[in-house]
Amino acid sequence: TQLLEQSPQFLSIQEGENLTVYCNSSSVFSSLQWYRQEPGEGPVLLVTVVTGGEVKKLKRLTFQFGDARKDSSLHITAAQTGDTGLYLCAGPDSGGGADGLTFGKGTHLIIQP
């Protein structure tokens, strides 16, 4: 079973600060997805990274896929209160043709005004 470990589990910072959260695995993934989930809602897809070393930017969010495709990071510049949420990384489940995703437990991010 492929596992995705996310760190930190919880992060609370002030508005305007920068932060980085991590997603690590001992397994190679063909791609990784990042989702954001707000309380009482389903996850919303933010980005997919496919190529080792790839960097994608989404406004103030920067996503990087590790060269070995075993890890990924999400960096937020000048965090805003609207960035508050649960950030989940996910990757294709290697268990067979379901196309289902393996998810990490997520990083709970709170941006304080």
Binding site: S31, G40, G42, L45, T48, A98, L101, F103, G106
Partner: protein, 113 residues
């Protein structure tokens, strides 16, 4: 904007009752999924479907069943609800072009008393 709907959003029901959680999508996606998410825990795949008349069990064993009679509809049924079924149930869909970019509904929060 993803168009995937789940009803009910919240359900409190007594032990032994039969329940059906509804999931519909208007994107014409062939692939649909059910995930289960407990508080503070990762999402786990419990069922998936490749298309009409296709249903398979996911990684996490579940006493629920699913059906796929129409492309847009993927209901989940519990014949006899138990307190151990209390959880958040999330439905998702994806298309063949990017099967790992899944679109989630808002979820059903089920409480069995």
């Amino acid at each position: 904007e993803a168009d995937i709907y789940q009803t009910p959003r919240y359900l409190v029901i007594g032990t032994g009752k039969k329940i059906t959680l509804e999931c519909s999508q208007t994107m014409g996606h062939d692939k649909m999924y059910w995930y289960q998410q407990d508080p503070g825990m990762e999402l786990h795949l419990i069922h998936y479907s490749y298309g009409v008349n296709s249903t398979e069990k996911g990684d996490l064993s579940s006493e629920s069943t699913v059906s796929r009679i129409r492309t847009e509809h993927f209901p989940l049924t519990l014949e006899s609800a138990r307190p151990s079924h209390t959880s958040q149930y999330l439905c998702a869909s994806g298309d063949d072009r990017d099967p790992y970019e899944q679109y989630f509904g808002p979820g059903t929060r089920l409480t069995v008393t």
